[in-house]
Symmetry: C2
Subunit: 211 residues, 2 copies
DNA sequence: TAGATTGTTAATCGATTAACAATC
DNA sequence: TAGATTGTTAATCGATTAACAATC
């Protein structure tokens, strides 16, 4: 793999999509694909595909194209999908529980190790064999377990406090579903899923389709 | 409001965020704010804020800044939040149910009118007083009810078929949570929430923090 | 009026696309 | 070898930032 300079955020955001299409191709037993063919499938220009991939090294071969399996493996590795991630979920309402189930069934490599909530009616419950613990136990849990990713599914009022605890507890990344922009240290990766923002931009696009 | 030419996607994606910060300011009884002060809060440059807002018209006043309440109202209107949206959810697993609850409690204006699933164990269930209907009843339901937004929470294998039915049933927008890129006609707005892609780009960022 | 801050034009920056030489 | 297709450089396009005249 080429020495990675600074790869732009836009490129990174496209990698999972490349990987999905390569996975489909693998399932269809397609061995090789050219940037042009991939362009037709995925909707990016062939030029962009080649540019994107060459950020990480020359995975193709002139006159041949790309080996589907090899490229899939390379992208997986670039994304860091060749290792496991220990995760905890803070906030075990419907969304927290949905994510626990989702990752449990569909996301090998992303392992929910613990769940936390402040609501006594949820504490003690078991979701996919993970017991929901009391929120007050979070600090100690993080001290005793090396967690990679903290998932925040609380309301917006509590989210920053939770983020602070997670950062203190040395998580490497935060997956935030609360409708606030969190402050976290430079050393922690932050990925936001602002469902509300997403729905609002859909509303905009519904009302401006004829433009 | 100025005649809107073609507003870039990036601008639209920032509008909900502006709105959130303005809402916070309203709660704090702040009447006015300059692009510079807003820049400090929200993290966009003052220049970008002024450019963004001027896509839609001159909401500010020289020497004064922007009226918080008025700007909030304007952005709400631009996004189309001054009207209601009738929604249905297809796929009532954990995520579908979570979204039903989420929109029910937090998203006035986005009203879940119906829910559909293929699983007999879910059909008949009631979620926030919405009965889960059998998937086979979807076509007829769409014929008899004018639905604005279809939310797809099925597995990826079924998503395109559901999308086709929704488009046939004349929805205006689709909020897609399945891990596929859907084909929908030009006339239908499509907003994807690819949770899996999001998690993968978080993984990348975790592994490349020191770059 | 003087000061502040917008609206808007111009400059810069970065990302996408086009082109083509290198090479399998 | 001839044909195909990459890797990579150059050109274009679009988005962000800077600057400042207009004006409240």
């Amino acid at each position: 793999m080429k020495e990675t300079g600074k790869i732009s955020k836009a490129v990174i955001k496209r990698l999972p999509r490349y990987r999905r299409y390569l996975e489909d191709l693998m399932k269809k037993d397609v061995d090789r694909i050219s940037s042009n063919e991939l362009s037709n499938l995925i909707g990016y220009t062939a030029s962009q595909i080649r540019q994107d991939l060459n950020n990480f090294g020359g995975f193709g071969q002139q006159g041949y194209g790309y080996n589907v399996k090899a490229l899939h493996a390379e992208i997986s590795k670039i994304l860091g999908l060749d290792r496991d991630y220990k995760m905890i979920i803070v906030g075990c309402g419907n969304l927290g529980q949905a994510l626990a189930n989702y990752t449990h069934y569909y996301k090998a490599g992303f392992i929910v190790c613990g769940m936390f909530d402040i609501n006594p009616r949820l504490v003690g419950l078991s979701i996919n064999d993970i017991e929901v613990m009391d929120y007050s136990a979070l600090d100690e849990y993080l001290e005793q377990n090396q967690i990679d990713i903290g998932i925040i599914c609380t309301n917006k009022g509590s989210a920053q406090e939770v983020a602070d605890k997670l950062v203190m507890g040395k998580v490497k990344g935060i997956w935030n579903f609360a409708a606030v922009d969190l402050e976290v240290g430079e050393e922690v990766a932050l990925e936001n899923v602002h469902l509300s923002d997403s729905l609002q931009s859909l509303a905009y696009n519904i009302n401006h389709k004829e433009d």
